[in-house]
Symmetry: none
Subunit: 216 residues, 4 copies
DNA sequence: GATGAATGAGCATTCATTCAT
DNA sequence: GATGAATGAATGCTCATTCAT
């Protein structure tokens, strides 16, 4: 767990003893909880410290500032997503790919479900992350770095099935798929339209399948 | 950060004299400029007033708070977009639709270009709007209301060409297309990937065409 | 109706035409209403003007500032009280005073009821006036001037019945009675104790009667 | 003027270290001084902080707002009064009550002198408290609570001498006596009449004695 | 190492009053 | 005379961050 990715001039303490590591984890946990419940801007260092039952000063000895905790949380969440996606990929590829269309559907389903389940768990926090990534260069950079890892997984997957995939630009396709899935899940989770989720998911699946796979 | 949760209906002055209308316009213009250049959170009422060469109090006699100007700006921008889209739709539909595939490509192109051109004009501000829509319920609501108008235009368009459109759920399709286009234009404009725009646009067009139109 | 008693450097307009007088009355009426409902400090010139359906500038052409309207209102209220007290006195003194004890009780009753009925009508506003008289020298002065008139009426009354009155220092007695009645009515009206009003009024009457009149 | 309606329980720091306790005391002391010298409304948090030689933020970490310090000061002053009254009561009751009329006079004197001496010490501040109790529900409540304690002391005293007291409703009598004394002391201290204090005090004593004690 | 007291720049907002039209 | 647009000083309050103990 590399210390504070982008910023941190020189000050934040890197805990080495068990007690220090636990304290840091308590802080991250409390921050995650508060950012999720109240939003990044509505949460302050005082509240995080109080919630973690440490002094304000202790917070600032582990993190140079509020954004640093947020950065650490982002890394953690994206790590979770790619770990789960990777796990599924590995499980799927062991099986013998027989019916390409079904596989493609599985891929679509996989992306959709994976992203959706993460949103279900963290949707409020992801909203904050997306917003912050739009507003803050540093957060944007971290988000991109972490998303790159998921895109690489998608590319890997397309290469595995490359003879059945309609498109040849895997890199662009992976980016499009990820972003499309992200955005759509957002629509679904936050009910920003009046449309039922079932209808929406069906159309999304169609769009991804038609894009990726030839008509059979 | 205690901002009035509901847009207070009680106070904002509706200018009656010519001078008042001009002042309000000056304020909106300055606010737009500053939100674009420095971002919503980095701009305060004081700076907007100063930039519009009016007193702080004048700002607060036209708007109850910063968010209200922002809301007004959003509405204005989205109105511009839908007006332009509508204009194009009307121009297109006059022509005799002969080749459906070409028409569909036109539709895709239209959506992409329209959205892209708006992003070109306002991309920094739109970034702020997207972020705020994620962070703030009221802004989210406004955004959704204004997007609904554009979605209605897309549905209208699909109905015009309904015998050639592959999908039947126009409502879901319109939402997906709009969001997809928005998100993609975002990727293109802000180069958040290292992929060249030409490649990306090609894939996007493919995705939309394959989704909407049968293989010819 | 003398213009703005204490302050007013030189500016407030003294209306001479019917229209001007009506406008001023509308302003005073609206101010009275607002001061009563929301309190002096919670009311501003804007609201008074709006409630009187005149422009802010118009308010300031009739009154130099907010305190001036308040002063005018005070004078008006106290004038009402002393007019009513005077009227009662005149009515009573025409009758032949036979039984002094009963007369004294009548006096007590009169003071209590008169003050109480005014409080009933204006208690919220009187609260404001009392508070302002404590906080502001100018308002204090006006209040004292107006109370002096009522005290004079009380003295006059005691002189009328002087052979039956136990005390000889009418001036001090009148002040004490007025203040006592005021304070007690305050207790009654605002229920600041849990004691029933009937019990309280009985004790007050006893206190005044025993003070003023010999045991019969 | 949007002040927290209920005393926000959420934020005010309760000092744990010696330094914190001293700082809070410094703030209360400075606030008392300024409220007395300039009045509550003429004093702001900034000035209190400056006078206590702490930062504005320090003030707000000990008190949620100006009213809260005021409340604390009120409680302190009233506590002082009732403690002194209680002390006197205890001292008096040790002596054998021989002459009831004298005792009653003592009681009157006691009430008058006690209240008067407090007024002498704090009269400017008490003026502010009275005014605020008229203008503000919360302050009114605090004042009433604290006065209840003094009333209870008066009732206790009357019960001690109950066979000599003319009235039987001790509760109502105690309230009347307290309020009467308060109001009269106010008259005396602030010379709101032109009458000499000696004359006024004599009449007040008469009124209290005649009310409480049978004619001897 | 941990604590929590202290800081003070910063911001949103109000309102009595003036003045150009 | 009346209007309402404009002013800007003033105020209450927040919070990221520092630092003495």
């Amino acid at each position: 767990m590399k210390e504070a990715t982008v910023f941190s001039p020189n000050k934040a303490r890197i805990p080495k003893q068990k007690r220090g590591i636990e304290t840091k984890e308590k802080i991250v946990k409390s921050a995650t909880k508060l950012f999720t419940e109240k939003g990044y801007h509505q949460t302050n260092a005082q509240q995080i410290a109080a919630s973690a039952k440490v002094a304000k000063g202790t917070f600032y000895s582990y993190f140079n500032n509020k954004k640093e905790v947020f950065a650490e949380i982002i890394e953690c969440i994206f790590r979770n997503i790619s770990e789960k996606v990777l796990l599924n990929f590995e499980l799927k590829t062991y099986k013998n790919p027989a019916d390409t269309y079904k596989e493609a559907k599985n891929l679509a389903q996989l992306i959709i479900n994976q992203t959706l389940s993460e949103y279900k768990l963290n949707h409020k926090l992801l909203k904050q992350i997306l917003a912050m990534a739009l507003l803050d260069k540093e957060i944007e950079k971290i988000r991109r770095q972490e998303e790159k890892k998921i895109i690489n997984l998608l590319i890997l997957y397309m290469q595995t099935y490359k003879e059945h995939i309609r498109t040849s630009d895997f890199e662009a396709a992976a980016l499009i798929l990820l972003k499309f899935a992200e955005e759509m899940m957002h629509q679904i989770k936050f009910k920003s339209s009046g449309i039922e989720n079932k209808r929406l998911i069906k159309e999304i699946e169609d769009m991804i399948c038609r894009y990726l796979l030839p008509e059979n």
